[in-house]
């Protein structure tokens, strides 16, 4: 009997010995732990792409950012009365708790912190792994992403530059990576301080990055020096520094028509090609790419195509927003029979829909962040404002954009009675040219004009009222006591 007992005891002890201590320190096989993220050149290259992956999330520049800017404007009608699909934003009454207000704020800062964590890791170990020349490129791309992200957030969550000359509260600025629990509460910088950070990033990106030829896919989906320069024409316009717009644009736009850049950027003959596969046109400067692979397209209820295209074949949108009959489509000078851009309008069930992003589910159309046509119009406006005259180059730039889509129109200086008329025409051209790409709200606030009424219950929003811009995310106000709301 004792023998058996001993045997049993032996088995028991073996059971103990068999315990595998290594199992107490598991490492996931599906995600890469932080201590292995900077181990190889290839992995760091993946991280460089990852900078953009986070930015192109459907809750940020991959969808909702553009959608929010469009539906705040006057060009669309909310069809579904659904707060998840930005009904409150369309009605200009979102609170800080509104899903889109929280999501865009949060995803914007996640994009920024991802850049910061990357830069921190590169400085610590990554730069040695990839070598100096590649390290510089990655740093430039990271800063471009950060600059674009700060600029985008600033337009929705802060008063425009003209209000107090940039002295109003801007964004909370972080440039160091946050990878663990910490005390990160920080107050909002001013609008001017935020712009200064954006310009620092973009200037740095311009210096660090290369200047590849236009049109190649990699020079469109990853930042280069031209992306930074082009973006600066926008940023300086929003900062009301028109001389700087002109100076930056000079690096990208030839002195006279046909307008081209040293790298070959130019207007595409047919604007529709910019929004059709393969999306790599010489007009494209920086676009966010999508494919039908898992996790490579925007998520549910964040896709531009889902919001604006109808359900009728060949589209598979949800028709969340139809075109407002009193929106920019009501402009008779935007000719319905000759202007190519009218082809983006389709009729379905008695309503008009905007189909600039027509590809059906899973909605893989590339989203342009900046393209050459905008740069031309940025320059045109800056010249008109800087010279305070009907500047012939400004007219030529404007004409180039209009004429590209409507061959029946060529503007001359004589078409504009004064600089105001020219500026109005440039603003209208931008409105039409960039319709659906997420500019309308930030153009309205930049210009300081009221948001037009959209229905009996959605009245005019004057530049002075609080709803002119979005409130700050309620989550930020709850957890960051140093942050103040817009009012």
């Amino acid at each position: 009997m004792k023998k058996y007992a001993l045997n049993i005891l032996a088995v028991t002890v073996m059971g103990l010995g068999a315990c595998q201590k290594g199992l107490l320190e598991p490492v996931p096989s599906t995600d890469i732990p932080d201590f292995k993220a900077f181990e190889t050149k290839e992995r760091i290259a993946s991280q460089a792409n990852g900078l953009y992956s986070v930015m192109k999330h459907g809750k940020f520049l991959g969808g909702k950012y553009a959608i929010a800017n469009e539906v705040r404007g006057e060009d669309f009608v909310n069809e579904k009365a659904n707060n998840v699909t930005l009904n409150a934003s369309w009605r200009m009454v979102p609170t800080g708790e509104a899903q889109e207000v929280k999501e865009i704020w949060s995803q914007g800062y996640i994009t920024i912190n991802n850049v910061n964590v990357f830069l921190t890791g590169m400085n610590a170990v990554g730069n040695q792994v990839v070598g100096d020349s590649i390290a510089k490129l990655y740093a430039g791309e990271a800063k471009f992403v950060r600059g674009v992200s700060y600029f985008s957030l600033l337009q929705l969550y802060a008063r425009p530059h003209w209000d107090g000359a940039g002295s109003k509260p801007g964004l909370i600025i972080h440039t160091e990576g946050h990878a663990k629990i910490g005390s990160y509460a920080r107050a909002r910088s001013t609008v001017n301080e935020t712009y200064a950070q954006i310009i620092r990033d973009l200037d740095s990106a311009e210096t660090l990055l290369t200047k590849p030829a236009a049109g190649a896919l990699t020079s469109i989906t990853r930042a280069n020096a031209y992306s930074a320069i082009a973006y600066k024409t926008r940023v300086y316009l929003y900062m009301e520094q028109y001389d700087k717009v002109i100076a930056e644009a000079a690096k990208l736009v030839s002195a006279s028509a046909p307008f081209v850049s040293p790298a070959g950027h130019a207007l595409e003959a047919d604007v529709q090609k910019v929004f059709a596969p393969p999306y790599s046109t010489k007009e494209s400067i920086f676009s966010l790419p999508f494919t039908g692979s898992t996790d490579d397209f925007p998520g549910t209820q964040t896709q531009l195509g889902y919001y604006f295209t109808p359900a009728a074949k060949p589209f598979t949108g949800n028709g969340e927003y139809s075109m407002h009959p009193n929106g920019v489509i009501a402009d008779s000078s935007w000719k319905s029979d000759t202007d190519t851009r009218r082809k983006f309008i389709v009729q379905s069930l008695g309503k008009k829909y905007w189909t600039k992003f027509p590809t059906p589910s899973p909605f893989t159309d590339y989203i342009p962040v900046i393209r050459y046509a905008e740069v031309l119009l940025n320059l045109a406006e800056a010249r008109a404002r800087q010279t305070n005259s009907v500047d012939p180059t400004a007219v030529a730039l404007l004409s180039a954009v209009r004429h590209r889509s409507d061959a029946t129109i060529t503007y001359t200086v004589a078409d504009f009675a004064n600089v105001t008329a020219l500026l109005t025409a440039i603003a209208q051209e931008k409105h039409i040219e960039l319709l659906g790409e997420g500019f309308r709200s930030m153009e309205i606030t930049r210009l300081g004009i009221p948001f037009p009424a959209k229905s009996s219950t959605v009245p005019v929003i004057a530049p002075t009222v609080p709803q002119y811009i979005w409130p700050i995310s309620s989550d930020e106000l709850i957890y960051n006591k140093l942050c103040v709301d817009n009012n």
Partner: protein, 1047 residues
């Protein structure tokens, strides 16, 4: 041998002395309540001087002196009975399983203990109490049956895990669900398919309730500490049936029943809809009007969407056959079950096939081996989202909401009989204004979102007793859940339209093995009784999951992922593992069964904890004092009243990490393509200091038995001080910490920071009020009071709001308040002068809201006020019941038995969020409450003036106090009338016994709560979002007829 001889000699002596008193022989038969003869029952003369035991058929024959007028019948696990003797036979005597006896045995973790020796707090429920209930899993039937146990069946979706709490909610971010241990193997619990398909799968439903012998619920540290880091929520020990020595026993159990939805809201018909919406349009200054549509016969369409979605005549049935038996060295139990149950939502079904086999074999004198294997196949079937599971509340296709939201103006079908579809939704006919979201009929007809699991559980053991007082045991247990989800969203209406059909198949395997080695020493030294347990245990879980998602169906013929589709995507990929390595020990000591001491200790090392804190030690101590054994007690004559009175106290430290992700402590980079190129990015901020939550539990109480245990019960006071709560601490968005979960709205990092306490008292009493031969009345009553308070959260974060289904901020955990406070904007009714909703903003100012006004928010004086929103919300009302319990009465008259269980909960509130939708002034249909709307100055009503497009006044945009109601209720939980076939008839048809019963479940509800049922949870078991009723399905009322036959 010498002992035996002495006993024999003694018995002879007694027998001789009895003979001298002209004894007679009394015969009888003892059976259980199903008529089966009970072997081994002791039948004795009063005073216990002599007696006998029943034979294999339950029959006995005993010589009884003339002057003896009664016999005592007793059997472990059964109620003791005293029989009056008239004549020479007692006839058939039925013994009932004893649900209150303090002489029985309870399971305590790695062993059992006599209940009278227990010094921890353990409540026991016999399997019989839940075996016949029309529930999918046993724990759904526990409500009201044990003090301090709260069970909330969250809605009418079948196989949805109930909310299960023992002594309040003992966690905030982790699971507050107790640890469930089935025959020694910790089981999976919760909804294992959560977040994937719309049909929940409660892994505990794999256990056929009819196979359960007993459920022991351990509540305090002494009783739970042996489970260390997993014990803080309490431990529930489930013991399945085993065979008993005797002839094979065959039992059939079955019932058939029907469930109907109850207390659904009444919504507007077409006439009322037109009146209300057109008035609202007019009030909004809108010139559009709704108009009626006509059907093919020219009649006005008036669709009752509730009837489209709910099922009135459900059929459910349940069958179970078991065979058990054994010899002196072998015992076995074999059972097979089948059940199919229909829910009150159309297309919502649950089906289970189950097999259980257990065998125990003695090998020689010292060895024994045994095995228990169970296999079950469970199917949870549903068309799609009901809107009732955690995360579903605002699903566009949520059927419970579509049922009340969709306009009566339109029919599910066009007049030509085809489906009414337009875009992803429905055509309004003559209306251009919206009339609904999706066509529920199409969703119900075409979609499916099914879950099927094959669940294999089993264990084998080898036990050696080298000496009577030494037991060595090794047990290996496994629990495998192999699960398939099959999800199809049709191309005609609903979420599948934009992808022209969308189908997903997911395969998941949850694999667990547990290897336990224990040694137990039991020894008595005089009056000192000692029992020592020591053991080691390893538990390993591995989870793998992959899913195939396909879109764009090539033909409307296809509706599964194996068919023809154009787009292929992967989905729900997962591979995780964890490992728990433990050592534990328990020492029980008592002196003369008068003074008791017990100590438990366990050390756990767990893989998911941060590298800095892998190892934790937990313990529990307890002491007991059986006062009735004291001379002073006896001298005071108290023994005439009290048959037992034991004071006990315990204290200990246990932990909790249930729900902690396997890799939550790590910082991770996620792979995701960037335009077809490789990319990874920072996606999870971990915490190397992450470890268990700590519960320090103190418990003081007494158990009592009065009048020979005719009245018995228990009283406890407890205090549970919880520290180091693992909170997913919200990070300010500007810090840019990534949001790891796709359903979360804010980034979090798990951190051991918060603290809270639960304290309360529990009291239970079981009494045999009447115990006559033909009539008996048993009463069981329990009541528990619990107070919960959060005492700290994350440093300077003193409040963490909770968002229901990623959309609506409904709840808050706030320092100084209980968990899950309702977090709403206060309201002050409706202004009788103008019909405007009056909100009270954060400053306490009244703000009047009019959606039709250019300046929508105004102060009382007419000045513009800032927009009111969630920032004005306050921690408004408590959702944790302060008092809860049950009252069970069992009346027996001859062959009839009536069992009635009432459950009650008071002192809590429920947010009836669905009411916001039922009064929403967009195109939504409304409840008939809106007919009471304000119309003229002076109208006193709780329904504001209707203004089309107004989704603020009634709470759709943010949660408001007007939709918060008291949840107090008394529920007629079950009532069952049983008739037992008389033995002569049963025997004539060759049965050992038979009974039939009719049973009602959820029969009546007394409450002021206006929603379908105050027992509800839109957020499932989530401990931070209780008391929310947002677009959930109601509960049903079930009637069953059952049969139990023994062969």
């Amino acid at each position: 041998m010498r002992k035996l001889l002495l006993v024999l000699a003694g018995m002879l002596l007694i027998a001789t002395s009895l003979l001298a008193q002209h004894p007679r022989t009394v015969k009888g038969k003892i059976t259980d309540d199903t008529g089966n003869g009970l072997p081994g029952v002791s039948v004795s003369l009063p005073g216990g001087r002599t007696g006998t035991v029943t034979d294999a058929m339950g029959e006995f024959s005993l010589s009884v002196p003339e002057n003896v007028k009664s016999l005592k019948v007793s059997f472990v696990g059964y109620e003791t009975k005293t029989l009056p003797i008239t004549g020479n036979s007692t006839g058939n005597v039925i013994l009932l399983p004893d649900s209150k006896s303090i002489s029985e045995v309870v399971v305590v973790g790695y062993g059992t203990q006599r209940k009278k020796d227990v010094t921890g707090s353990i409540a026991s429920v016999k399997g019989g109490a839940i075996a016949e209930l029309p529930v999918q899993s046993f724990e759904a039937g526990l409500g009201g049956r044990a003090a301090g146990v709260q069970i909330t069946v969250p809605n009418g979706i079948v196989n949805n895990p109930p909310v299960f709490r023992i002594r309040g909610s003992n966690s905030i971010s982790m699971s507050a669900y107790p640890l469930i241990v089935i025959d020694g193997v910790p089981a999976f619990s919760g909804d294992v398919g959560a977040g994937i398909s719309n049909s929940p799968l409660n892994p505990l439903s794999s256990i056929n309730p009819a196979d359960i012998a007993s459920i022991d619920i351990a509540k305090d540290a002494a009783a739970t500490a042996i489970y260390g880091s997993r014990a803080a929520n309490g431990v529930v020990f489930v013991t399945t049936k085993k065979g008993k020595a005797g002839r094979p026993k065959v039992t059939y159990d079955g019932w058939v029943g029907t469930t109907r939805p109850t207390r659904l809201p009444t919504v507007l018909n077409t006439e009322q809809f037109l009146e209300m919406k057109n008035e609202a349009l007019k009030n909004a200054g809108n010139t559009d009007r709704y108009v009626a549509n006509l059907d093919a016969n020219g009649k006005v369409i008036d669709t009752k969407w509730m009837d489209v979605v709910y099922r009135d005549k459900t059929i459910s049935h349940n069958h179970n056959v078991n065979v058990s038996g054994g010899s002196e060295s072998t015992s076995y139990y074999f059972s097979a079950g089948y059940t199919k149950q229909q829910g009150i939502l159309k297309r919502n079904d649950f089906a289970r096939k189950s097999l259980l086999f257990s065998i125990d074999q003695q090998l020689g004198k010292a060895f024994s081996i045994g095995a228990r294997m169970s296999y079950s196949n469970e199917q949870s079937l549903i068309s799609g989202s009901s809107g009732s599971l955690e995360g579903e509340a605002f699903n566009s296709g949520g059927l419970a909401r579509l049922a009340f939201l969709t306009s009566p103006l339109v029919s599910p079908y066009n007049n030509d009989g085809s489906y009414n579809i337009s875009g992803s939704g429905m055509s309004g006919g003559k209306n251009t204004l919206p009339i609904g979201i999706y066509n529920p009929q199409v969703l119900l007809d075409m979609d499916h979102s099914n879950t099927e699991a094959s669940h294999i559980q089993g264990n084998v053991y080898l036990q050696l007793k080298p000496a009577e007082w030494i037991t060595l045991k090794t047990q290996y247990g496994a629990d495998y859940i192999l699960m398939n989800n099959d999800i199809y969203l049709n191309y005609l209406s609903g979420d599948g339209v934009s992808s022209t059909g969308d189908v997903t198949s997911i395969y998941t395997q949850n694999k667990r093995w547990v290897w336990t080695n224990t040694v137990q020493l039991d020894r008595s030294f005089g009056k000192h009784n000692l029992s020592l347990l020591a053991g080691f245990e390893q538990q390993r879980d591995a989870r793998e999951r992959y899913g195939l998602r396909r879109q764009k169906q090539m033909d409307n013929y296809f509706n599964n992922s194996e068919g023809g589709w154009l787009t292929d995507l992967s989905r729900y990929l997962l591979r995780k593992e964890n490992y728990l390595l433990s050592a534990f020990s328990r020492l029980n000591y008592n002196y003369n069964e008068k003074y008791y001491l017990s100590a438990n200790v366990r050390q756990d090392q767990y893989s998911a904890f941060g590298p800095n804190f892998k190892k934790g030690t937990f313990y529990g101590f307890s002491a007991g004092w059986e006062i009735t054994k004291e001379a002073f007690w006896t001298n005071a004559g108290l023994n005439n009243v009290f048959s037992s009175f034991k004071i006990r106290a315990s204290h200990g430290k246990v932990g909790n990490f249930a729900g902690l992700g396997d890799y939550d402590a790590l910082s991770l980079y996620k792979p995701a393509p960037y335009g077809g190129s490789s990319s990874i990015y920072f996606n999870q901020a971990g915490n190397p200091d992450l470890n268990w939550e700590t519960s320090k539990k103190t418990d003081v109480g007494f158990t009592y038995g009065i009048l020979n245990n005719r009245i018995s019960g228990e009283f406890s006071y407890y205090y549970n001080d919880i520290n180091g709560l693992i909170l997913f601490v919200p990070q300010m968005p500007s810090a840019g910490i990534p949001i790891t979960s796709t359903t979360a709205t804010i980034a979090t990092i798990p951190t051991n920071v918060g603290s809270m306490y639960n304290k309360g008292i529990e009291f239970s009493v079981n009494a045999v009020a009447i115990d006559k031969r033909d009539f008996s009345w048993n009463i069981g009553f329990n009541i528990a009071h619990n107070k919960n308070e959060v005492t700290s959260l994350a440093g300077d974060i003193t409040a963490i709001p909770f968002v229901t289904s990623s959309l609506e901020q409904t709840s808050i955990n706030k320092v100084g308040y209980p968990t899950s406070m309702l977090y709403v904007v206060r309201t002050d009714g409706v202004d009788p002068a103008t019909g405007r909703r009056i909100f009270i903003n954060a400053n306490g100012d009244k703000v009047y809201f009019n959606n039709a006004d250019a300046v929508k928010y105004k102060y009382e004086d007419g000045k513009a006020a800032p927009t009111v929103g969630v920032k004005d919300a306050v921690a408004y009302r408590n959702t944790n019941p302060k008092v809860l319990g049950g009252l069970e009465n069992t009346f027996r008259y001859k062959a009839f038995e009536l069992n009635v269980l009432l459950t009650y909960q008071t002192g809590f509130y429920v947010y009836y969020g669905s009411n916001a939708g039922l009064r929403d002034q967009r195109y939504w249909n409304n409840s008939t409450d809106v007919l009471n709307r304000w119309q003229n100055p002076g109208d006193q009503t709780d329904m504001p003036r209707v203004v089309y497009g107004d989704n603020i006044s009634n709470g759709s945009s943010f949660a408001i106090a007007a939709n918060v109601f008291k949840g107090d209720f008394v529920k007629l939980s079950t009532a069952a009338l049983t008739y037992r076939l008389p033995d002569n008839i049963a025997n004539a048809i060759r049965l050992q016994g038979a009974k039939v019963y009719v049973r009602g479940q959820n029969l009546a509800l007394i409450t002021k709560y206006p929603g379908p049922d105050p027992e509800v949870s839109s957020n499932g078991n989530n401990a931070s979002g209780q008391g929310v009723d947002r677009n959930t399905l109601g509960n049903g009322r079930t009637l069953t007829v059952g049969l139990n036959v023994n062969f």
